[in-house]
Symmetry: C2
Subunit: 309 residues, 2 copies
């Protein structure tokens, strides 16, 4: 993250948490808009107790980060998580990887921490950060896609984030690849061919070589590995298809790509532009890399949390 990032003045401090599948990022944002160091801690392992262990960990971290004797009267806490999240009711509706279903996180945090709470979605939070301060700033209609283990997106239309009770932006399940079976039960989902998990899995299946992740496939691609080229090429083509679909439906000015896969740089963006040109859609948005890096989620949580002050 750019350390010079400043969110502008606000009425108090915010404790911002971005809960990932393996790591939680936490930071304190001061009233002057500056952000303290981003702390990283392991996410409690998935299981029946995960929500409670997560709640305890966040509660303890808030107290640890608490800025001296200021008390909690001018503080808020923002927590964003993966899966399906209903921002309106503050509920963690479903998170396969973390093993919870219908947990009323916001109410629990409100009782435990006795301060205003924002509870939201990790990809929408990262998208909010890119929309306000990053690559999508200055555009009114923008899609920010997170290309990681899964694929999801934050959709901004007419300057507003689309939520639809947490169901908007599930672009990982756009159907773009007739043959690939997805973990959701359907076939042909974008996520089943273009996610980091799918790229690693499909490379291993094709080459017989086990790889740790998609970044290893990218390295092999650079070394001229034929199977890596094929798997990566199919992933990029499916992503281009998805961008054409999203553009037809929502007419964004810009599509911003973030998440681990976007770190492949020109290995992603150059063939993607070529694939988009080949598809011959009438109008296409600008395609840009995300600019806030892996802390976009915690920055977005902070932006949303400050609205609670």
């Amino acid at each position: 993250m750019q350390r010079e990032l400043n969110l502008g003045p606000a009425n108090g401090s915010v404790f911002a948490f971005d809960v990932g599948g393996t790591t939680i990022k936490a930071a304190l944002i001061h009233p002057d808009g500056t952000m303290g160091p981003v702390h990283r801690m392991p996410t409690p392992a998935a299981g029946r107790e995960t929500p409670w262990r997560l709640i305890d960990l966040i509660e303890r971290t808030v107290h640890t980060l608490s800025p001296g004797s200021g008390g909690v009267s001018h503080c808020a806490t923002a927590v964003v998580v993966p899966g399906i999240v209903d921002e309106e009711t503050g509920t963690g509706v479903l998170a396969h990887n973390l093993g919870w279903k219908d947990v009323p996180f916001r109410s629990i945090f409100e009782q435990k921490l006795q301060m205003p709470i924002y509870f939201g979605h990790d990809v929408r939070a990262a998208g909010l950060a890119e929309y306000r301060l990053g690559a999508a700033s200055g555009y009114e209609n923008a899609i920010i896609m997170a290309l990681g283990t899964g694929i999801a997106a934050a959709l901004f239309v007419d300057g507003r984030l689309c939520v639809a009770r947490g169901k908007a932006g599930e672009v990982g399940h756009l159907r773009v690849a007739a043959h690939a079976a997805c973990s959701c039960g359907a076939t042909g989902c974008l996520e089943a061919i273009s996610s980091a998990a799918a790229i690693a899995r499909r490379y291993s299946a094709r080459s017989g070589i086990k790889v740790a992740g998609a970044d290893e496939v990218v390295r092999r691609l650079r070394d001229g590995d034929r199977a890596a080229e094929e798997v990566w090429g199919e992933a990029v083509e499916a992503l281009a298809e998805a961008i054409v679909q999203i553009s037809a439906l929502l007419g964004p000015e810009v599509v911003v790509l973030g998440g681990g896969l976007a770190e492949a740089g020109t290995d992603l963006f150059q063939p993607l532009q070529d694939a988009l040109s080949d598809l011959g859609a009438a109008t296409l948005p600008l395609i840009l890399p995300a600019s806030l890096g892996e802390d976009a989620g915690v920055v977005g949580a902070a932006i949303a949390g400050r609205q609670q002050l």
Copy 2:
């Protein structure tokens, strides 16, 4: 249209116009919320003079419909048109069928009529009517698709209509049929296989029999015509694909189908439900027929026009 429709009381009268490719519908909506008869008149033929002839026709009709001596101080006019429309600036950006490009309709009507003007999009207006008073009322997240000569949709997310400078809702150009060439220059667009125009054209190409329109294909389908069954089946399957894509992206509770094709009734809705089940998407919205009929556009224009009073 149901004659008992009432828009509720407002501060004045609205002259509402729905400009179609061949017919203009016009109605006066009274302050008590009742709507006068819907008048139909031919749309001026496409050409360089179309915008001016249309403006003259609407100006004359406003004066004809004008409710006695009430003057214009408590009146507004609402005009909705097809193509790409920028509601924010009141511009008719592009209408292939009517032959205009970047016409500042709202400003022109304001000068000519000396009253508040709403200038908008026909499909979004019809969608607004279905969302407020028709099949989609009571839902927060709803897609209203107009299946006619072309295919477009009004997208409601979080209770708000998505516009994106007039580019949102171009669902006719979702890519769902790899082989079909579309008039937009791309291949595989929904509109190239599932629109009324495409169904008639594809039936004629397959059977060698010239038909007047898609309704004739539906009649032949009911008589067991093999080519009609094939063409209709492909149209329905592509529509199911599009609905799955829209649902993955926007998570609507309901998809409402209107326009000429939706009048096929169970010949459309039954095979569509079957095709949706076959696609095996994780969650699917409710599929409902539009309920306001062919006057939905003029009702929607009236609703938007009343906000200008």
